[in-house]
């Protein structure tokens, strides 16, 4: 697998604030990645560094094997759809679509026009007059029609209704099947996109918490419910990502597969074991209270 992005020890500090703190990961060619985390976790900062829009404080950063800053070979192959993308005041929707091919060499005009129709975008309306959802839709059109080898969507569906979001997933998968490329979906709404993802990166507080295949993660966490002392006993030495005491009871979320023996033991202890969705897992991992602490040995 070709590595499209290689990041190691990447940090971005604003004074004493560590927006991104010693993050390392790689992105491989042709996969759909999810960059997940809460608002302000550092996702956007990382993406801005990948695209040389802001400057790193320290660390290594290679995109298509090279430094992205002022590098035409690299920048030519990236399309980064920002959540807060600014457009010139006088630009109409069609102006944006007219200038896009000047910057994205793989631009597919037919696809762009088909998407405009799908999303019912008013071509002659000025960008500043668009609703939040329409603004997102323009970003989606540009992102998909650019067919850039590395396409990054930052919170791509803000303001979109369920129908439009569904349309986005459909068109994304459809075009990705025909023209495979590396896609990064950055979002705090994990529920809907999780099925689309092949690989998941979870960021919290500027740090990389998780870097794993999505399929490995599904079913890799369990919810254990029962008498608090017995739950603690059972989970000793395991990675607990969430604890919710409830009277004398406790519900704990634990990472890692439980073996058949462990499940038997849980039944003997009178504990109930339930499944945990990817969304719940990420929420618990980035949830703030008592997150990802090691249980006492």
């Amino acid at each position: 697998m070709t590595k499209i992005v290689e990041v190691s020890g990447l940090s971005k500090h604003y004074g004493k604030v560590k927006a991104v703190d010693n993050v390392s990961f790689t992105l491989e060619e042709g996969k759909i990645y999810g960059l997940l985390g809460r608002n302000g976790a550092g996702k956007t900062t990382i993406m801005h560094m990948l695209t040389a829009q802001i400057f790193k404080t320290s660390g290594e950063l290679k995109v298509f094997g090279e430094e992205p800053y002022e590098n035409e070979k690299v920048l030519n192959r990236i399309c980064f759809i920002k959540e807060s993308q600014k457009y010139p005041e006088t630009f109409r929707v069609k102006d944006v679509l007219n200038v896009s091919p000047l910057f994205f060499p793989n631009w597919d005009k037919e696809l762009a026009m088909a998407l405009v129709e799908d999303f019912r975008l008013p071509l002659k309306r000025r960008m500043k007059k668009l609703s939040r959802g329409m603004l997102s839709a323009v970003g989606i059109v540009v992102g998909l029609a650019s067919r850039a080898p590395l396409t990054i969507f930052d919170e791509p569906y803000l303001g979109l209704d369920a129908v439009a979001r569904n349309l986005f997933y459909d068109r994304l998968l459809q075009d990705y099947a025909e023209y495979p490329r590396t896609i990064v979906l950055s979002t705090h709404l994990i529920d809907e996109v999780s099925q689309l993802l092949e690989h998941v990166l979870v960021i919290d507080g500027g740090k990389l918490l998780l870097d794993e295949e999505a399929e490995t993660l599904r079913g890799n966490a369990s919810n254990v419910v029962g008498a608090a002392s017995k739950v603690e006993d059972f989970l000793a030495g395991k990675r607990i990502i969430h604890r919710a005491p409830f009277g004398g009871l406790m519900s704990a979320t634990v990472l890692g597969q439980l073996s058949a023996q462990e499940r038997m033991r849980a039944t003997e202890l009178g504990l109930e074991i339930g499944p945990v969705s990817l969304q719940q897992m990420v929420v618990h991992m980035t949830g703030g209270n008592g997150n990802s602490e090691e249980a006492a040995q």
């Binding site: 801005h48 035409e72 993308q85 010139p88 006088t90 000047l102 910057f103």
Partner: protein, 226 residues
């Protein structure tokens, strides 16, 4: 190079700001002068032409904020943004200068619009040869644009407070210069020098100043974030 052309095209997509507004502004200033000229009998010499030059400074200031973040996030290199923007203003300045020479010719040919209105023919600036007139028009536009562009770039790089800082430093420098001139009683000499400057010397001086703005804005934008 293709990216540079892309940036020129992106700028010129906004035809209103780059191509129409300068002439709308100049046109309305001209219209006012025509009305005044037809009401009174005397010859009118007006500074209305300045409006189109000042507009170039405005568009310089505005264009950084309008297009820099947009184009950088569309994957343009900072260098290409700079070259493309420079090419755009150079094209516009050449076109505008030629157009101004043409209407200036019409103004003379119609005996100053028949009402003695000297609008496009300004004493001193348009005294020289056609080439020298073209050169001074062109360089004034470039100079003012890049002055505005540099202001926009300072704002982009260091924000509002940084911009205030730059103006405070400039203000202080001017105050000191004025104070020193007064202290050494050199105002007479300064005035003599100013009066003695030829149009060509003025243009060349503006060229040097323009290059300073160019260097400053490029240096700032290279390090600015989108």
């Amino acid at each position: 190079m293709s990216r540079v052309t892309g940036i020129v095209k992106t700028h010129l997509t906004d035809r209103l700001s780059w191509l129409m507004l300068p002439w709308i502004i100049l046109g309305s200033s001209f219209a006012v002068n025509v009305i005044i000229g037809s009401l009174i009998d005397e010859e009118i010499k007006t500074g209305g032409l300045a409006s189109i030059f000042i507009y170039m400074m405005v568009i310089g200031i505005v264009s950084v904020g309008q297009t820099y973040p947009f184009l950088i996030s569309f994957g343009a290199r900072r260098k290409d943004y700079f070259l493309g923007t420079s090419a755009t203003i150079a094209l516009v300045s050449v076109g505008t200068a030629i157009a101004l020479l043409l209407v200036g010719y019409v103004e003379r040919a119609t005996d100053y619009w028949g009402i003695g209105l000297h609008f496009f023919n300004v004493p001193y600036l348009t005294d020289g040869s056609l080439l020298s007139q073209f050169w001074i028009f062109f360089i004034i536009m470039m100079n003012l644009f890049f002055c505005g562009f540099a202001i926009g770039a300072v704002y982009r790089k260091v924000g509002r407070n940084g911009l205030f800082g730059v103006f405070i430093v400039l203000g202080l420098a001017l105050t000191v210069a004025f104070y020193l001139t007064t202290y050494f009683d050199k105002w007479g000499q300064v005035l003599d020098w100013v009066v003695g400057i030829s149009v060509l010397e003025l243009a060349n001086g503006l060229l040097v100043l323009t290059l300073v703005y160019v260097a400053a804005s490029y240096g700032l934008l290279r390090k600015a974030t989108a």
